[in-house]
């Protein structure tokens, strides 16, 4: 994943409403805007707006089915962003392990 593609993924997920939409779609079934609006507190316009943000981040894709747009979840961007963070996290583990060894490895621990 290009670095430029990751920030929108994190930003898209930084919102409870969108997370809820992702959770709903992550079941695997494609849903229409009407289905995603049903039973919730959000208006159709609000749901549409959030779906567009998710679509731009590649987390959902839409396809036409007759007159309706159906939205489908794509797990790849989240998985790739997750792998990236795991890589950064592992890098910090190594770097901080070296810091600890560097400081503690000195005689007496406090060089003056």
């Amino acid at each position: 994943m290009k670095p430029s593609a990751r920030a929108p993924v994190f930003a898209a997920l930084g919102d409870d409403t969108r997370l809820a939409l992702v959770a709903r779609l992550a079941g695997g079934e494609a849903c229409s805007i009407a289905q995603l609006t049903e039973g919730g507190r959000l208006t159709r316009q609000a749901v549409t707006k959030h779906l567009r943000v998710l679509e731009e981040a590649g987390i959902v894709h839409s396809a036409r089915s007759g007159r309706r747009a159906l939205f489908r979840f794509d797990p790849r961007p989240i998985r790739e962003a997750n792998d990236y963070l795991a890589g950064v996290s592992a890098q910090w583990d190594r770097v901080l392990g070296r810091l600890k060894a560097f400081v503690e490895g000195e005689a007496g621990g406090d060089r003056r």
Partner: protein, 152 residues
């Protein structure tokens, strides 16, 4: 998954010693494996070259943010910027913070390192709603993660 990384590490040395290892640019270079061109100065760009074997082609560049003696050292940078063919400068930088606290009656140090900003929204510009929701982020994402694993 979370949009921030936090590491806590106990070091068996006083805060003053750990502080020097983190903020003296020569000592920093020893464990971070980078040869820095000069001392860290708040508000200034820090440049250098990675010395880790196999990564000598990688340049180090960060902007030092805060230097609060024996408490906080922070900089912004582009994490994982190891591909020389990619121009990372247009990407939003992340914020790295080193926080130090004495432990064991001053004999030890608790070092907390956080890296944040992967979602590129500067903290100061986040709207109130987002800030209020931050606490729930971890759990929410865990839920999503479960779904992701399930559907993979």
């Amino acid at each position: 998954m979370s949009d921030r990384i936090e590491k806590r590490i106990e070091i068996d040395a006083p805060v003053s010693r750990v502080w020097r290892a983190i903020t003296d640019h020569v000592e920093f270079g020893e464990w971070f494996r980078v040869k820095l061109e000069g001392p860290f100065v708040a508000g200034r760009v820090s440049r250098g070259r990675i010395t880790y074997p196999g990564y000598e082609h990688v340049r180090w560049e960060a902007v030092v943010q805060r230097i609060e003696p024996e408490r906080l050292f922070s900089f912004t940078w582009h994490p994982y910027a190891i591909d020389p063919k990619v121009d990372y400068s247009s990407e939003p930088p992340t914020l790295v913070e080193f926080r130090l606290e004495p432990t064991a009656g001053g004999k030890g140090t608790l070092l907390v390192v956080t890296e944040s900003g992967f979602d590129k929204i500067p903290a100061g510009r986040r709207n109130e709603a987002f800030r209020m929701n931050e606490g729930g982020w971890g759990q929410q994402v865990k839920n999503v993660e479960e779904y992701v694993t399930k559907t993979s």
